[in-house]
């Protein structure tokens, strides 16, 4: 049986941290047969992604994963031989001491300690991926593992068979002339995804969009515009900040299950979607507005045009990160400038030329619609390209094996 792995996750805000850790844990366990113990400081956040989780238990087994409350980690906790601290979260001191003792007293198989870093498309990531932080007083080193978009990085999370699943779903859609928006909405709202496939079809010329975002002052402008267009727009509004901002624009509260028609814009207010339902939403829409890290990655596997709101950072560090991704993602795409312009507007990043000369977000949106089919094809090619670079869980497992071989040799 494979060694157990411990994954530590601190929830800073939102669902990105635990979303990534939960996905990784499940993939390591279900696809690679690795027993995983997931340590998390805010169990209540995980209950949104995995409703079976009970917040009153110090330790519990869910979907093959042992889930433990961070606070229950103590001197008595037997450390694993592979330890991942997600997003530089720093494992508890008591655990660190036990890990060091284990490393020194039982050197084989070697202990591997990894810091799973944030996702970035910047060049420096490949230069830092796989490097170790020297131990201050021992030979136990911590390795930095960077997710990324190139073969020189750790890759992206992707379950086995995901690409085939997406393609099957979308081909089914095409053969049916696409599922009707009200049916899709009802199916997503049911959370279980067990409703039978509907017979009705998407309206001709209808644009279907999903909205998942942080606070964004551009939202009212876009809603104004979509409501005033002649062609119908169906906007699936995700739970939380997106719903709150749309409600503010509407001038009254909105709750999951609400459906409103405002001019040409239909608003479909969603409940909190579990990951599988959110994936289905991404696969079903013509455009996906996503944010942060987890939904951003899922949208790239969805074969559909995406608009990313990056997590804002101090000193505008996120501007460089956005540009780095745009450069990789758009490559030689013929309409790259229009996409980049919209993304910058959405993220309120001044373009190279004078900010005053930049077009409004309405004009920028119109440009996107004109080459939607090309962008669709580009999205499929991009996902194919990413797919060829392997996936993060497998790369992580191979990395652990490599470090162990090197450690054993030295």
């Amino acid at each position: 049986m494979a060694d157990r792995w411990d994954i530590f996750c601190r929830v800073i805000d939102n669902y990105g941290d635990i979303g990534v850790c939960w996905r990784l844990s499940r993939q390591l366990h279900h696809e690679l047969g690795i027993p995983v113990r997931l340590w998390i400081d805010r169990l209540e956040v995980l209950t949104h992604l995995c409703p079976q989780v009970r917040t009153n238990l110090g330790s519990q087994q869910v979907d093959g994963i042992e889930i433990c409350q961070w606070e229950s980690c103590s001197e008595e906790t037997q450390p694993a031989r592979v330890v991942i601290e997600a997003f530089a979260c720093e494992i508890p001191n008591c655990y660190q001491s036990s890990l060091l003792s284990l490393h020194e007293s039982v050197p084989n198989p070697p202990v591997v300690w990894i810091n799973l870093e944030y996702l970035s498309a910047e060049d420096w990531v490949s230069e830092c991926h796989g490097l170790a932080t020297p131990g201050s007083s021992s030979s136990l080193r911590k390795y930095f593992f960077f997710p990324g978009f190139t073969t020189e990085t750790g890759g992206l999370l992707k379950e086995a068979g995901l690409r085939e699943q997406v393609l099957r779903y979308q081909q089914e859609f095409i053969s049916q002339g696409s599922r009707a928006t009200p049916d899709l909405w009802a199916r997503l709202c049911s959370k279980q995804g067990e409703n039978p496939l509907p017979d009705s079809q998407k309206m001709p010329g209808e644009l279907r969009i999903s909205l998942f975002c942080y606070q964004n002052p551009r939202i009212p402008q876009l809603l104004d515009y979509w409501s005033s267009r002649s062609a119908p727009t169906s906007l699936f509004v995700t739970h939380g900040l997106a719903t709150n901002q749309v409600a503010k624009w509407c001038g009254h509260p909105l709750k999951a299950g609400d459906r409103l028609q405002i001019g040409a814009l239909e608003l479909l207010i969603l409940p909190f979607l579990p990951p599988s339902a959110y994936d289905e939403l991404l696969w079903s829409c013509d455009f996906n507005f996503v944010r942060g890290e987890d939904s951003f990655v899922r949208a790239q596997w969805a074969n559909r045009p995406l608009i990313w709101q990056i997590y804002p950072q101090e000193e505008a560090a996120h501007h460089k990160k956005l540009e780095a991704f745009l450069s990789l993602y758009l490559g030689e795409f013929s309409n790259r400038e229009a996409v980049a312009e919209f993304w910058r507007l959405w993220n309120q990043i001044p373009p190279d030329r004078s900010w005053a000369n930049a077009s409004g977000i309405e004009d920028a949106w119109e440009k996107l619609i004109h080459f939607r089919q090309e962008w669709n094809r580009h999205s499929e090619e991009w996902a194919d390209r990413l797919d060829r670079k392997g996936n993060l869980a497998n790369n992580l497992e191979m990395f652990v094996r490599k470090i162990r071989e090197e450690t054993s040799r030295s």
């Binding site: 830092c128 932080t133 020297p134 997590y311």
Partner: protein
Amino acid sequence: MSVKLAGDLQSGNVVIVEGNPLVVLKAQYNKSGRNAAVVKLRMKNLLTGRVSETVVKADEKMEQIILDKKECTYSYSAPPVHVFVDGDYNQYEIDAETMADVEKYLMPEMTDVVEVTFYESKPISVVFPKVIIREVEYTEPVTRGDTSGKITKAAVLKHSKYELQVSAFVEIGDKIEIDTETGEFRRRC
């Protein structure tokens, strides 16, 4: 010894890592996610000369040491050491191995003042001035009518046999300036 955050390290700083003195050759600061940052460090072990790369969180505390340094001049070589002397005529032997990168600049009766660094009273490294002047012992003359477009050619320095690329107009016996950090030709004197 003092504590310095990894994010504040600069090239030239010396830190103790796993008990060894390491001089920072290059520090590259990058913002990772949220408001965290990491620093990629290229460092040289002052005892072994081994160069390594590492990455640390920018808020990691590092033990910085200030090393003693003395201005010295080259005296003579007695393999496997080179001998330097300070203003008080104290002699210091330095292993040729630890001077591998700069040994090529040594020459008899050279007047360059070098900086010798000490760790726990032991001389461990020699830093030459940024620019030194050396004489070209041999270089091919430029052939009249050569239209190959070459703008540099190889030249060998007097005494050291160090070969470097120089401008096509440099001739045997010329004095040239060399950048000791890159080992490259700067200009003819």
